[in-house]
Amino acid sequence: MPPTSATPRNKMESRELTLRYGSKVAIHQVSLGIPEHRVTALIGPSGCGKSTFLRSLNRMNDLISGASHEGSVYLDGRSIHDRALDVVDLRRRVGMVFQKSNPFPKSIFENVAYGLRVGGLKDKAKLQARVEKSLRGAALWDEVKDRLDESALGLSGGQQQRLCIARALAVEPEVLLMDEPASALDPIATAKIEELIHELKSTYTIAIVTHNMQQAARVSDQTAFFYMGELVECGPTEQIFTNPREKRTEDYVTGKFG
């Protein structure tokens, strides 16, 4: 069900997507469009399938043994399960920031340069330029510009999370999937990341999972509410928070359960 207001075309779209872990259904018949250059927030109680849905957009679920899907997912109108589409290509176009920050035990520079290197970029000057641009993009440059050769593991939790964002930005994906990118951060770092999301949406299409209702209201244009593996309701963020169609949505966003 596409959002009702005048929205741009869908950059990504799932149609009747069902995903199982073994025989257990994690998400059931989810049809959701992710409009281009907009921020889509995915909300819902723990275990309702938000991460599962996000991971199926860049086929990270393929890595989980026993996971299987039905239905389809489209990127620019083309099925991502199309045989002709390379999954490595897909992941370069649809980047991901994980719930738990996971920098490599490498230097700050090498972390950000990683995606570029595996993509075949060798030119030193170009690498440096892209690393700087991505770190600036993730609002981390000023804090690390004098210590790019130091280990990424020496950064604080909030800095590590922004490093992971910078690392994802460096590949210049078209879509950025963020799984609770601010769940482990203090209010200042959280504010920085929200500001960042605002800036990024002019160039990227963003889907973000969050447990924080205020955050969803602040950063997103469209909100999708998941409950027990089903997509209950999706619409403009304004409407979901002020005038939801479903009782369950209202109960959740007003904090009556969840």
Binding site: G95, Y114, S151
Partner: protein, 303 residues
């Protein structure tokens, strides 16, 4: 009453375990003390750099030292690639719990339980009489060239013996690489082999080096597997090619201890040889531990 019993049980457990630990330390100290006392006075630069003389009742141990080092080096060169590749296949590519992986694991576990003398016989039968003979025939040698004991066959036999150690510790090391790092790499558009080369193997390196250490210290001390496959009783010349025989510290120790016509005269030599063998093993271990801590620190600091 109950309380008292518990106390007694507790106390006796403490003393029992303490005693066991003490016995181990005491035994090591005794061995070292005895070896140093008997060998230190005879240990000299000449002893390390000269060949044995006077029917092995004089001179040094240089050929044995050199032979042991060359043998261990060749063994390491042979066992590491095979062992690491096998472990990578098992852990990264074979379907987990698939038939192939299970078969290899059972084979590895059983290989580890085979007595080392059997490896010696296997080396003789397989490498020398089968592979060596085949090579001689194929390469057109009239007399025995490859089909005789030599350092290549001895090192390959040792490589087979130490293979399980390398495979098991490499697999362990691969398992210890956090799943997070793999997923992060794949999510950035790296292929599986790029992930392996750039994230998984570097992360597993300290563990792989541990495997190398264990393999080396096991391989350097084994005598039985090289008895029939290349070790020489007495050979003052250094091995010059891969089919040369060689002297070996462990075998030399055995020869000095059991084959000497004058036990009193060879005793200091024997002690000094054992001391060198121990020093060599300790140094090897030390070097490996240093490499390991360095790579670990490097990995942690991220270079």
């Amino acid at each position: 009453m109950k309380h008292a019993t518990r106390r007694v049980v507790g106390l006796s457990l403490v003393s029992l375990t303490g005693l066991a630990a003490f016995v181990i330390v005491a035994m090591l100290a005794l061995i070292l003390l005895d070896v140093v006392k008997g060998g230190a006075s005879h240990l000299s630069w000449e002893f390390l750099t000269q060949a044995p003389t006077d029917g092995m009742m004089g001179g040094g141990i240089f050929p044995a030292l050199f032979g042991t080092a060359a043998l261990t080096l060749l063994m390491t060169v042979a066992v590491m690639p095979v062992g690491v590749l096998t472990a990578v296949y098992l852990h990264e590519y074979a379907p987990p719990n698939g038939r192939m992986a299970r078969l290899v694991r059972v084979a590895v576990a059983n290989l580890a339980g085979v007595p080392s003398i059997v490896f010696g016989l296997f080396g003789l039968g397989f490498f020398i009489l089968f592979v060596g003979k085949g090579m001689d025939r194929a390469l057109g040698y009239e007399e025995l060239h490859w089909a005789q004991p030599g350092i290549l066959w001895a090192s390959l036999t040792l490589a087979v013996l130490t293979l399980p150690v390398v495979i098991v510790s490499t697999e362990e090391a691969l398992r210890a690489v956090p799943l997070d790092h793999r997923t992060a790499s794949l999510a950035l558009g790296a292929t599986q082999s790029q992930t392996l080369a750039r994230v998984v193997l570097p992360g597993a390196l300290p563990g792989i080096l541990t495997g190398a250490v264990l393999a080396i210290s096991r391989g350097a001390g084994e005598v039985a597997p090289i008895l029939f496959t290349g070790a020489a009783y007495f050979l003052p010349d250094l091995p010059t090619s891969l089919n040369s025989q060689f002297m070996h510290l462990g075998y030399h120790t055995y020869v000095l201890a059991t084959q000497s016509p004058d036990v009193e005269a060879t005793r200091p030599l024997l002690y000094a040889t054992v001391m060198v063998l121990l020093l060599l093993t300790f140094t090897l271990n030390l070097v490996a531990v240093l490499i390991r801590t360095r790579t670990r620190r490097k990995a942690a600091s991220g270079h």
